[in-house]
Structures are given as C-alpha cells and as structure tokens.
Symmetry: D2
Subunit: 337 residues, 4 copies
C-alpha cells in the first residue's frame, strides 16, 4: 500500500508511520516530494493488514495497491480455467447455453421446456426449486419436490442441471441433485454459504451481486476457492443503477475485465439483467460478442402463466431463433455454440 502524508506532516509523524509499518512486518520506502511525502509499504497486504495506518497523525490517505484476491487472480494461474462436467466444458471454445424456467412448477412444465431446449442443442437446463422473492407472499418454489423433478428431467433428456441454493441447511440436498450449484445475486456475500459450497466437489455458478464491484465479486469467488473447490463459474446478471426502464443495468464490460483479471470462466444472464423479454435476444448476442463463455436464458413455454419472471422469459420459439443468431455471432468471434 501507499501512504500519502499531509502536506504539513512533521518528520516525527513520518518516522512514526515508518516505525509502525516496520513493526507490522512491512518494509517502508520514503519518497519526499516538494508538496508531500509518500511512503510505500512493501509486503503482503492480505496477511499483514492495514496496521491502522490511516489513523496515525499526519496521514492523509492510504491507498491499497495489491489485488486482494490471490486464488482467483490470473497472476496466480495464467491458464484460463475450464470447468468440465462430463463432456461439457465451460470456459473452452464452445459458448455454453443454460436455459429453462425461472422456477420449477411441475413435471409437465419441465419436460415440455426441456424437450424444446434439447432440440436447439443447448446442454444445460436451469430451474429454481428454492426462489428468493422480494415479497413473502410470492411463490417461493417447490423445494425438494422441485429438485426431484429436475433430476427426472436430467435423466429423461440428458441435460445438465443448474439450480440455486439459498440456505446452508439445504445445501446437502441441492448438491445431491444439481450438476452446477447456483449462488444467487442476493447471496453473493453470504459468506457462510460461500464457504460451505467451497467444501463440495461440485461446480458453482456465482452470480454477481446487485451492487458488487468486480473486485468484490472476485473476492466472493476467493471464499469458495479458498475452501478447495476450484470450479467457480462467474455470472454477470446486471447491476443496480439509476436507470429504471430496465430491471438492472447489464454490465457487459465485466466480461472482458474478469477474463483479464481472473482465470475463471464468466457467463452472462441477460434475462435478469434486462427484465423484459423483448430486449433479451440482442443482449444475448452482445454477450457472446463481448467474449462470454456462456449465456443463461429464461425460457418458458407459456410465460403468461409462469409463476415467476414471466415478463423476462423467452418462448421456446424465440429461444430457438436466438440460439441460431448466437451461433452466428459466436462463429464471427472465433468460437462456436
């Protein structure tokens, strides 16, 4: 870190900062300018901490300069991580599509949608058995029954299943049924849940928090990696801004940035990012063009009757058309669908 001293800091104050840094385990490097003195603290900030420097007399500002994440960093691991499940690779040449309803509603619903998804060539099905809802009066999901229906769907259609866990107490159950365990946007900093999924041997889809910086998102991944689970897939799904026309503001620039800072694969969920089905296909194309390793799309055979998020769901027909167009864009950027 770098310590900027006040313009009128005394020699004694400067010495005091240096002493404190050194007793905390840092080496201190002084740069005396005309207006101010700057002190570089050399050492591992992650383990040495900030030593309370900001509170010492004469200190104006303390600026951290090291990335706080290690295991998630591309510095640590130059080669991009490919998460492999059977013959499906996430982070490789193929852009993977995860499609399905917001919530599991019934076997008929799942089978109908799964059949349509399967036809398009997509390999992974999404569907929530536990639903985080803003209102306690809204449909909260079928819970274990929903997980069982997902498992039946996997068996019948040969699709992989990604589904959300909200509570460490139901994690053993979810992990038993899911191929990929999803951590939703509201739980991105539910640190106990992150640690728990870090102890499982299952890939984790980690959605970006509604108001999480890219650095905080990578720090959340770090919690999982630090427990020993290397298979984290990041998912951009829109952040909160002042714009009210869209449900959220889909920050596609996070895709190339994450790929620069980290070795982890990153996918995009434009359905939640936008919230209106009409604008989902162009943003799915844009996600592929921006370099995403996958796209997650809400698909429902009858959005009008969906128990959750109908307004942002594509019909199977629209989804099929979007798959064709995504394939064309994928090819244009040197990948395939």
């Amino acid at each position: 870190m770098v310590i900027v001293m006040n313009h009128n800091a005394t020699d004694e104050q400067i010495e005091n900062v240096v002493n404190r840094l050194e007793s905390a385990g840092y080496r201190a490097h002084l740069s005396r300018g005309i207006e101010r003195t700057i002190i570089g603290a050399i050492g591992d900030e992650t383990s040495l901490g900030d030593a309370g420097i900001e509170l010492l007399p004469g200190v104006e500002n303390v600026i951290p300069i090291m990335q706080p994440y290690k295991l998630a960093s591309r510095v640590m691991k130059e080669q991009g991580t490919i998460v492999t499940i059977g013959d499906v690779e996430i982070g490789g040449e193929t852009v993977q599509v995860m499609a399905g309803p917001c919530a599991v509603e019934s076997k008929e619903q799942l089978f109908e949608i799964a059949g349509r998804i399967k036809e398009t060539g997509a390999r992974i099905m999404r569907g929530g058995a536990y639903k985080p809802r803003t209102s306690p009066y809204a449909f909260q999901g079928l819970a274990e029954k929903g997980l069982q229906l997902l498992a039946e769907t996997r068996e019948k259609f040969g699709l992989l299943i990604v589904t959300e866990v909200m509570d460490p107490r139901t994690l053993p159950l979810v992990a038993e049924y899911a191929d990929i365990i999803q951590i939703g946007t509201r739980n991105m900093q539910n640190f106990y849940l992150l640690r728990e999924v870090g102890r499982y041997n299952k890939p984790v889809l980690l959605k970006r928090g509604l108001s999480a910086t890219i650095e905080e998102w990578l720090m959340a991944a770090e919690y999982i990696l630090n427990e020993g689970n290397p298979d984290v897939i990041l998912c951009e799904r829109g952040i909160r801004s002042f714009e009210t026309f869209t449900r959220n503001t889909l920050d596609l620039s996070s895709v190339p940035i994450v790929k620069h800072l980290s070795h982890l694969p990153v996918i995009v969920d434009p359905s939640h990012g936008i919230g209106k089905f009409r604008f989902v296909p162009p943003m799915a194309l844009a996600a592929v063009a921006a370099g995403a390793d996958g796209v997650m799309l809400e698909v429902h055979s009858n959005p009008l009757e969906a128990l959750c998020d109908g307004a942002q769901s594509l019909t199977p027909k629209k989804f099929g058309k979007t798959m064709v167009r995504m394939a064309a864009v994928a090819q244009a950027v040197g990948r395939k669908l």
Copy 2:
C-alpha cells in the same frame, strides 16, 4: 395496478386484457383516452399477482400502484411501534444510542469500552461475534466465545447487547445471548434467515441493504413480521452510489420517509455510512435532527489496533463529546437522549 395499452391497441386486445384480469379475480375499469386506453385493475395485487398481463398483445406498460407490504405499513397500524426491552424503549421519546466495537476481540477490550459507554448514559452495546468480511483472509470474529464475552459484559455493566447473526444454523445460539439480533446489510434479502428470526421472540435490527430501495427494505421487514415477530427496528447504514470518498452514501432522507410509510422505528448507523471517523459525529447529529429513533456508533478504545473497521471508530473520548452534542440536538427537535 394500471395497464397502459399501446396507442394502436385493438378493441380485441383490450377485451382480452379485461377478460384475463377478471378471470384472475380483478375488477377492470376502462378509461378510453384520445391517444391511449388505460385499464385500472381493482383487487388485491399482493394475492392476485400480475396475471402475466405485461405479456398480452397490445399492452405497453403495467404500473403497480399498491404498496406491496402490509404488516410493515402505517396504513395497517397508524400508531408507531415502540420496541421495549426491559426499561429501554426504541421508537419512543428517547433517542437510543447503540455503541461499541465493530468486532468483539477480548474481555479486556469489551469491559474497557463498556465502562466508557456506560458513563455517557448510553444503554445498548454493539459488538460482532460473527463478522461478514469481504476477504476470506480477514478476521472473521470470535464466534461463540465472542457471544459469551458479550453476555459477561451485559451482566457486569447492565447494558443491552445487539449482535449480528449471519447463518440460520447459529441463530439459536445468537438468540440465546443477544437482546437484539442484528441482520446485516449483506443479509437483508437472505430470506431464509429473515423467516427464522421472524419465529423468535427477540427484537430484530434490520439493516438496509447496500443497494436496497426503501420499498425492498420494508418488504424484508415484512418477511420477519409475517412470521409473527412484531419487533423490527430498521437501520439506515448507507447505500451504494458513485461517490468514492465515503464508504457508502448515508441516505438520511430514508428516516422521515420510513416513518411516513411505516410504523416501525428507524435508527441510523453513520459509522458504516461514512467509513471515516472524522465525519461520523456531524452525521450522527444530522441523524438525530432528521428524526431518527436511535444512532448506532462504532467506538473502540484503541482504533489503531482494532481488528476491524478502526478507521471509522470513535475513541471513547470523541464518543463522549458526541453524546453531549447529540443530546443538545435531540432537545432542539423535542426529544431527549
């Protein structure tokens, strides 16, 4: 809700919307304007839902007009709620102060701070035994040992204890030790945790989420109230904005707004809102002037050595001075400290 039809919606499309509304249980009220037709849907949106209206042909926009919360609403209960713990009232004439360290570190630390807080007349002590930290490498709290130290402090100094729960699995333990159970900003939409604390007979301090609208915050309170626990205290602690000088942007306007929309008491935590101790006292005064029912302040005897959030902690001496100034402002707005 109100349905705005496209400017070129056909009579058939309008009729279709009306039929669907009626079959969902609404009464529909047509207003034909020169440019557009508007349909008012009369009925309880909370239980009837949106009926997928947004997806019907010819519909441009659907605007909800009812507050989605009921139990938290002042419409439901005109009289302001006073949360009473022994002889301490939150939401009454007295502005309550909750003070203490970010994290419980040791018995010596707690006792030292508790003694200084007690002297100022404050009645409630804060201190975290389970700490939500952005980094997995940061101090995570003393866990149960920390709870025990808080209990000892309560016994010795007669202060009430507020402490955070992060995980439904440790809730029974936290509830056993705490006088007020805190739900932190990152868990404001941890719905399973909200439901669980709703089943306890202990007051809950519900911090506003980093990017939660006031409505979403009241909906989170609704989850707790809906399980039968009436004692929810709301806590404004800053929201995320583009400004980077402060840790967060303390939204003091939420105080009079919450008191208008809801009967629940609301307090303010300027320490987390600002993140720099120097600016905490003026914002504490502003919170009292804005009508807050309480103020939560981080106090540490030696902020330099604090294991967490030293930079935003007041020393006991600065805290004592702030108490005196808050008392003056409280009196100026017709309350007392």
Copy 3:
C-alpha cells in the same frame, strides 16, 4: 396520469381531485377499489401539466403514464430515421464507424490518423477542437485552429467530420466546419445549446448524459427536434455507476431500448464507456451485436503522447483489426460495416 388516493380519502377529497382535473382540461375516470380509489386522468399530460394534483388532500401518489416525448417517439414515426450526409447513411443497413483522436493536436497528427482510418474503410472522423476537461489546468483544445485542421483533413481524405460544440457562442463556427455537430455528455441538458443546434440544418450527435435516464435522453433529443432539426443521432457512451474499475458503465441495453421507443438512430462510444483501450474492442463488437447503427472509437497514432484520453485510444493497428472483427459481427447480425 393516474391518481392513487389514500386508503382513508374522503368522498369530498375524491370529488375535489375530480373537479380540479376537469377544470385543468382532463376527463376523470373513477375506479373505487376495496382498499383505495384510483382516478384515471384522460388528456394530454404534456400540454395540460400535472395541475398540482399531488398536493391535494387525500392524494397519495400521482403516476404519469404517457411518454413525455412526442417527436422522438416511434409512436409518432414508425419508420426508423436515416440520417444522410452525402452518400453516408446513419441508421441504415451499414454500421458506420466514427474514428479519430480525442483532441485535434496538429496537422501532422490528424493527417497521419486520417490516412490510417481511411484505409480501413471507415467514413467519418472524430476529433475535438473544444474539449470539456474536468480540470482547468488540462489541455482545452485548439479551438478555431482545430476546426480548420479538421476541414483540411476532410478535404484531403474525403472523410466526414464530427466535432463537439460546448458553447452557443461558438456554434456558428463549429457548424460551419462540421458535418455532424456533437453535443457532449456534460451538455446533454444544456437546454439553450440544444435549442440552438435545433435551428441548424446539420446532423447532431447527442451523447447520453452521465446520469441521464433513457427518457431524459430522448427528452433532450426532443428539444432539438422541436426546433425543426430532424437529424439527431443518439450516442450511448456509458453512465455513472458504483463500479470504479471502468471509467463509466457502458449501458448497451440502451441500444435495443432506444430503437424500440424511438425512430432515431443510435450509436455507441465504447472508448469513453470503458476508459481503458484493452477492453474497447470487445465492447465495440458487443455494440454491433446489440444492434447499434454505428460505433465511435478513439484512435491515436501515439497514445502515449496524446494530449487527452491516451489510455482509452486504440493504435491504428489495433483499430484496423477491430474493424475486421466488427465487420464479421455485423454480417452475423444481418448488417454490414
């Protein structure tokens, strides 16, 4: 607009609202629900105004339901606007690229860059003669001298010129030299400047304000259109969010949304949106995939020595490669470059 009455509004209060609406020129439509009464006000909100309804006793909320823009709306003009300058069309099948340096620095600089741009097939050159700079100590542009250099460049290379105007007093000069007059993000709500360019017969490139909603952006276009200038090109260039890694948050979802709400063409400036050259090419590809009618890119032969925004400028070589890749994506989505 729709007026939502308090749950305990009296009949007299309701009648009072109805009377006021009618005397303001609206027709009022009452919908009495069990919990609340809703009043639909039928009439042209743009000319009739809000009649102060929000302040009447018993009124809880007033919700505008009409789009406040008319001339910019696709309701008004279903066919997309194509801005034509010579044989260059913006808003047609071809995705137009506008490239060049942040600031005009010298003839050598301009000619060097123009030659490289020309080679790639791009048709429009950007370059600022008047520069809005956060600091009064930063390079403020060459002013009229810069305009003259741009004109020489146009003559020599046959490229169209887009350049920014910041002050109504220099507009006549800028309009004399420019093919497209740019209104920068900081002037999106400089209403006198908007009105002035509305009186010229030159296409206007209107950048989205840093914190402007899509609706406010279209209202700014409305100011220009309302003065008689039909040739407005909208330009998404990033909005302000809490994320600090990027200079701004490029909101690509505004592209399909603007094309849905308005008939005006819309282009994207990823250079300012991201602020770091490394991430500009993938976002340029994403812009094309999302349906943008053009892309604006900062290109400098020697970014290291650029007087402005070097960090986000592409070298001519990187720009050339990006053109090839954009052409592939354009083709994939049924357009050409």
Copy 4:
C-alpha cells in the same frame, strides 16, 4: 502519482517507466517488493500530467495521489472563506437561509412570498427567471422580465437575490440583476459558463452536479476561482442513486467533507434533494446539524398553482415553522440562524 508494475514486469520495463517519468519532469522513486515493484513519481501532477505512463509495457495501474484542485483546497487556504454581501455573511457564524419560489411567475407572486420570507428573518430570496426544464414543453421562465421583477422585490423588501444563469450570452444581464449568480446542477460542468462567471465580481452559488463526485465539484469551483473570482458558495442538492422514492438522494455527508477538503462555504438545498415537501423540513434540520453554512428552500404561497416544482415547495406557514425549528438546531450546534 504511484505506478504499480505487473508482477512479471522486466527490469527493462521498469527502467523505461523511470526514464519516461524523469523526462516528463518527475523524480522517480523505486520500491521493489517481493511480488511487485512500485514507482513513486514525485512532482506536480497538475502541471506535469500523466505522461501516458498507463500505456507503457509492464504497467498495471497508475494511482493519482494528489488532490487535483489547488485554489479550492484547504491546504492552500486554511481559513474558511466567508462570502460577504453587504451585511450578510455566508460561511460565518450565522446559518443563512435562501427561500423563494422555483420560478418567478409574477410581481404579485414575488411580493406575496417575499413579505412572508422577510417576516421570518431570512435575508436572501431565490427565484428563477431562466429555468432548466427536462421537457421543451414546460414553462421556461420569464427571462429578463423575471429578472426585473426580482430587482423590484429586492428594492421593496431589502432581500438579496440569488438567481440562475444557464447561458453565457445572458450572463451580463443576470449579473446586472443578481446578488448571487446560481450555476445549476446541469451546468456544473459547463466549463465555458464557469469561466465566464469566474470573470465577474459577483458571488457564485455552484450546485453539485447530479452525478458529480465531491472532487469533480471542487474542480468545477476551481474553474471559477482560477479566473479570479474568490466568492464561490457550494450547494449540495442531491445526487442520483438507484432509490426512486425521492427525486434525488441528498448526500449530507458532503457537508463535513467539503468543509474538511476546502475553505469554501457550503449550503444545502433539501427541496430539490427530496422533491416532496413533506420530507423537506426534517432534512433542512439535518443539514443545519451536519454543519451547513446555509439552507435553500423552495417556498410558494400557493404550491398547487406553482408553474414549477409545486410538489416540493413549502407554504409560507410551513416555512415559518421550519425557520423556528432550524434556529433551535443551529443553536444546539453552536451557531445561529
């Protein structure tokens, strides 16, 4: 500034950065850590610029560490600035109140309101003759006629006048009539206008931009100060956030922060910050408690008929009560009204 090198930067790359810094006029200070090398650049960043360092090979990040403003900085001038107009001081012991209608509508309106304001002891009247309106169809102000009415009001009631300028072409006129020239939020970065008012001998009220950081706001003040006008009064009026219940999010923490960073006086406009009259008085009290040097309030005798911003205007009666309460809070924090 501080330059952070990549973890795998070569010695040659490091040397290259040092050479470039030195040829730009900086002294360079190397700190070699285990993981990375950090280079401190000692020199005046404001005049030396960034030298394109960010683009050099091996550079990961460039962190500016000096405040970019000088004249506005408290480092430059420790004593707080008091803006004096006749016997009215802004920035002194007295908290000054500026009250009046959003827009000048007629002589009767102004005289009626001025009389009521005068009674309360306030010394400064606000009122817009040129109005920045989101819609081109909304009332745009009485222009010069409005200025004349303000002048008549000043003469009759002995109140000082603050009124907004939007266009450099009308500045001579506005400066002739106004005691304090207001720069509105949308023009905070209208740099030509800032420079122009900097050449006048009249105090300038500079509102914070809707999405301006505190640093950008002080940089806007720097533009004015740099032209020779020392009398800048800053005005916090709310920033844009995701919260939609309020018109803006009033960032009261900017008050103590500005007073720490700068010597300029700072006032607060809660009317625009909140946008709903009901919540304006508590926020006015909070502004005084936070240390503001003044409060600006919209007051209208008949908000229902106001041509602009009626919903956020106080009646003279409510304003009178608020004055009494603000006086009590001012006294509680050691000031007077």
